[in-house]
Amino acid sequence: MFGRVIVVLLLLWKQEEVNSLRLVELRVPTHEREGGMALLGCQYDLEGDTLYSLKWYKESREFYRFVPKNEPPVYYFPTPGVNVDIARSSNTVVALLNLTQESAGHYRCEVSGEAPLFATVNRQKYINIHLLPRTGPHVTGLQEQYKIDDIVVANCSLPPSRPKANLKWLINDQPAAAEYVIGPWYRVSAERPDAAETILQLSFQATSAHFINGAIKLKCQATIAPLYQRETESTHYKAFPITATTDPPDVNKASFSKDYAEPAENSLATLIIPILYLILV
């Protein structure tokens, strides 16, 4: 008898919990690129309650409120880095335009029911704003051909970014051994003090093992997670000391010029050049 009463009470309590205002989902991007736009979504279930207010805060500052009883219900406060597109904002969504570095921060959605309880739920997320490099990684210092025992030295540099990019060298699509890699170095950009150019050097003595089918494939890969990943690839054939006099400069030049190709073109060249080389030999 007593136990049954407790069960009923528990059910009632649970019921009330279920019936109270509930924030269903806060849909906010974690990373956006400078200059872009973002949509912040706040989905809630009133569970029978009446909405008193929906407020968006960046950090602790209110920048957007939706109060149905107000006229107009939408009101926003000019905030650095937060450019609300009123036309595309509603009681559940706020659109932000022209994201800048200042736009990064905690965005909190707070939903309150009506009197007397003013039941309130809130949730927040952090939005990171990244500055992406103008171009992909740029590799310098490579020769067209390498002989066995030649020292292979190359620098890979990425234009300024924020946060700092992650550079990685791959030899024959395998990450270069740690002893082959020197760096990275960062160089703060003159025009964007918040951004830095990233440089990573590769240096190793070529062995016959490096040559697969008579060629070495070198790749510099740049990553800024999760928005950005680019790479630059080049292929270098094995040079023979006896035939060194026969047109090696041409080949070198051809190979060098290929370095500046688009990644897609680069890959085509690396396929053709070894074939031509084999035919000539």
Partner: protein
């Protein structure tokens, strides 16, 4: 593993969020002590005049809904709708908008109120303002438990411990938030308190104490704990209790001598014990139970009083006082000893000489006593008493007192009685039980009995003979003497009652008048001198004599006379007073004794008086005399001078001249007599026959003799000085009955023979020979060693009385050849040496004692 990693990550993420929130929403720290009111700040001030506060919402971070709200959206803020969550602050909360910043007041804050609160202020125009308050509710600790090393919970007192102990106290404080600090204070001075946290918010503070000394007793150890300056600390104070063994114990005034039979209150004090010492008394290991204990006001000193009456047997006993702490039975008791020195009144016992039979001591024998003495301190004086009267050393009287012995030479019936010896020391005088000396003697005639009986012919007379005798069992023998013969009186006429015997006697003829002699005998012997009763024909009494007038007054005078012979019968006396002129009898007084007072006379008159005696046979001759009454005072003076004085003066001178003349004649006779005696002794002649002492011929003469013979004054052992002569006579007489004389006389010297010594004695006494000193030196060594040695006086000439005694009773002089006739004049006293002597006397005896001749053996 994986889920844990996720949980970990989530936690990290949440704490990161909290960190961010802390950064982005300002947070105020508020600390309140439970029970106090607390005020949570919330800034509701507007930036703009136009603006207004619409709504204030208070959240608790862990709850989704507000806990307090002020809704002023559709009304003035002053009358805004206020709402408080019943399950949180309820009516304890009230918003105070007028304060700057505004505050939410919460009364009687509870521990459960602790948390982070957020205040959200919705303005009409301005951006919503959020602020946060971190409310910390301090809950003072509410439980403090102190335990000792054994884990026992201690409330107010810790211990008791003893000196040298070390101990720890753990003070566990629980029930508070945040974790309180705990500190130990000793007498309000903070001590270094190592503290260790306990589960929950508890903490344990440890106090180490020791090693303890006596000074640590009653130290107050306070454990104090709190967790906030405003929170009232809780504390517990323990007082250190310690047990100490006693430090000192003393019997006060010990090692002094004590008097037996006196009650003493002896005190023993012990101090230093805690709790107070208990004191016990012991005598030779036996507990004394009647002690009473008192405690000094500070509780430190216990005094035990025992009331003891010690006896002689306690001397040398060990009196001990032991103090112990009843709470510390393992600690041996502290003890103070006292070997008792008991002083007591001398205990004395009189013992008769061992070879003497107390039931058979005869008159004239020598007796000695020892006084056995137990005394501490030892006696400084020993005294002997006879019937309570102190005896003095007097060799002349035969009383010789040495250290603890009494020698009585020649005891007599007056020597008998109770003898005690008294020892004197600082404790007092110890008198022995009396020793009753019983001296046996042969019967003697009792004095003052009727010696002359006037009896008419055919008259039956009862003549009674009274004797003194010891033992008093006597038999009597009567004889009748007249001028013709002497006859035994038949027993049929004799009756006996005790020491008296009565003969019924009737004279029939003239021959029946004479003398009755009464002889008594007891087991000691025969009466030496019989009692003599003269039976005379009864007649009228003789004339009284020596009548004088006494006590004359205006109307009376008295007359006294000496009575004359009563004529053998009881007599009475008569005074007749007559007028001289008229011969008229004015007074007629009769009396049993010749003493009268005539009264009713006229003053200033002279009367003719006559005194006469009368008995059954008739009147005696009257004694006439003149007697006068006094004149009235104014004429009396003249009468004295003119009439009385010349006559009395003449009478005096006449009697004086007669006396002087008689005295001179007597002196001459005496000197001549002495010379004669001296010459006789010097020629070594045996003692001459006594001077003629005629037997009683006439009744008058006989009466005088009898009176002198049987007078009891004679054998006085302690005579007055005037009786010295008689005393010496007596001594001689007694000695003679014991020791046979050297001379020709038998041991039983007749009365006449003894009497014969008297004349020999008298000249010696009054006129000692010139060789007196030389003559006596050897005699001192020989016979008088007793007395002389005792007084350590051998070289000094004996005193006069000594000399006279030695002269009368000569001893070894004749044996040693000392010249001097008196050696044969007396009776030696050698027998005295055979008396047992006290040890001191024996050791002091001179070496020349063997000079005693062997024939000087005692009886």
């Amino acid at each position: 593993m994986g889920s844990k990693w996720i949980t970990n990550n989530t936690e990290k993420y949440l704490s990161y969020l909290a960190y961010l929130l802390d950064k982005i929403v300002p947070m105020t720290q508020v600390v309140a002590v439970a029970g106090e009111p607390v005020y949570l700040p919330c800034d509701i001030a507007t930036q703009d005049e136009e603006d207004a506060v619409l709504l204030v919402l208070w959240y608790r971070e862990d709850l989704g809904t507000p806990i307090y709200s002020v809704d002023a959206r559709e009304r003035d803020f002053g009358v805004a709708e206020r709402w408080s969550d019943e399950s949180v602050f309820a009516s304890r909360a009230y918003f105070l908008p007028e304060r700057r910043p505004a505050e939410l007041g919460v009364d009687r804050v509870k521990a459960s109120d602790q948390g982070v609160y957020r205040c959200r202020v919705d303005f009409k125009q301005a951006q919503t303002r959020n602020s946060r308050v971190n409310l910390t509710v301090v809950v003072p600790p509410n439980k403090m438990v102190i335990t000792d090393d054994k884990g026992d919970v201690k409330q107010a007192i810790v211990g008791p411990y003893i000196e040298g102990d070390t101990f720890t106290l753990k003070c566990d404080v629980t029930g508070g938030r945040p974790r309180p600090w705990v500190k130990w204070f000793r007498d309000e001075v903070e001590t270094d308190t190592p503290a260790t946290p306990l589960s929950g918010n508890g903490v344990r503070g440890v106090l180490r104490v020791g090693p303890l000394t006596r000074l640590d007793v009653r130290a107050a150890f306070t454990c104090r704990a709190s967790n906030h300056a405003r929170a009232h600390p809780i504390e517990t104070t323990l007082t250190l209790d310690m047990n100490f063994p006693p430090l000192t114990v003393h019997i006060l005034g010990s090692n002094q001598p004590l008097s037996a039979s006196r009650r003493y209150d002896l005190l023993c004090q012990s101090s230093g014990s805690r709790p107070p010492a208990s004191i016990t008394w012991w005598k030779n290991g036996h507990r004394i139970n009647n002690a009473k204990e008192t405690l000094s006001t500070d509780g430190n000193t216990t005094t035990s009083t025992v009331s003891l009456q010690l006896t002689k047997s306690d001397a040398g006993a060990k009196l001990a006082c032991r103090a112990s702490n009843p709470q510390m039975p393992s600690v041996p008791a502290l003890e103070d000893d006292w070997t008792l020195d008991i002083q007591y009144v001398p205990e004395t016992v009189v013992r008769l000489g061992t070879n003497l039979d107390p039931t058979n001591i005869r008159e004239g024998s020598d007796v000695y006593f020892d006084c056995n003495i137990k005394a501490h301190p030892y006696v400084y004086k020993v005294e002997w008493r006879h019937n309570g009267k102190t005896l003095l050393h007097n060799v002349g009287q035969g009383i010789i007192i040495s250290n603890q012995s009494l020698v009585l030479q020649g005891v007599g019936r007056k020597t008998a009685g109770n003898y005690t010896c008294v020892g004197f020391n600082a404790e007092g005088d110890g008198e022995s039980k009396p020793f009753s000396l019983n001296v046996l003697y042969a019967p003697t005639c009792r004095s003052s009995q009727q010696r002359v009986h006037g009896v008419a012919k055919q008259e039956r007379a009862h003549i009674t003979c009274h004797v003194d005798a010891n033992p008093p069992e006597v038999t009597f023998r009567w004889t009748f003497n007249n001028t013709a013969n002497s006859n035994e009186v038949s027993d049929t006429y004799v009756s006996r009652a005790g020491t008296s015997s009565t003969v019924t006697y009737t004279p029939h003829t003239e021959m029946d008048y004479g003398t009755l002699l009464c002889w008594a005998r007891n087991r000691i012997g025969q009466q030496r001198v019989p009692c003599v009763y003269h039976i005379i024909a009864a007649g009228r009494p003789d004339q009284v004599h020596n009548c004088t007038v006494v006590n004359a007054s205006l109307t009376s005078f008295g007359v006294r006379c000496s009575e004359g012979f009563n004529g053998g019968m009881p007599q009475s006396f008569l005074l007749e007073v007559r007028e001289i002129v008229t011969q008229e009898i004015v007074a007629n007084v009769s009396s049993a004794v010749p003493r009268f007072t005539a009264v009713g006379l006229n003053p200033g008159r002279t009367y003719a008086a006559a005194v006469l005696a009368y008995n059954a046979k008739g009147r005696g001759d009257p004694y006439p005399l003149r007697a006068g009454t006094l004149r009235p005072p104014e004429k009396h003076h003249v009468h004295d001078k003119s009439l009385d004085l010349p006559r009395t003066a003449f009478q005096m001178s006449a009697s004086m001249s007669v006396a002087v003349g008689g005295g001179i004649i007597l002196m001459v006779v005496l000197i001549l007599f002495m010379i004669a005696v001296k010459q006789r002794c010097a020629k070594r002649k045996p003692r001459s026959a006594p001077p003629p002492s005629s037997q009683p011929a006439s009744p008058d003469k006989l009466r005088e003799k009898e009176d002198s013979e049987s007078d009891d004054r004679n054998p006085d052992i302690i005579p007055s000085d005037t009786d010295q002569m008689q005393m010496d006579y007596y001594r001689q007489q007694q000695v003679s009955t014991i020791s046979p004389p050297l001379g020709s006389r038998g041991p039983r010297g007749s009365v006449a023979g003894v009497r014969g010594g008297l004349p020999a004695y008298c000249p010696l006494r009054t006129a000692p020979p010139p060789t007196h000193g030389n003559m006596h030196e050897p005699t001192i060594e020989e016979g008088y060693s007793y007395g002389v040695l005792f007084v350590q006086n051998a070289g000094i000439p004996p005193p006069a009385r000594f000399a006279s005694g030695s002269c009368t009773l000569p001893r070894g002089g004749s044996v040693t050849g000392t010249p001097g006739g008196e050696a044969r004049c007396g009776i030696p006293l050698q027998h005295l040496r055979t008396l047992p002597r006290p040890a001191t006397a024996a050791t002091a005896a001179p070496p020349n004692a063997p000079r005693v001749p062997p024939r000087d053996t005692p009886l």
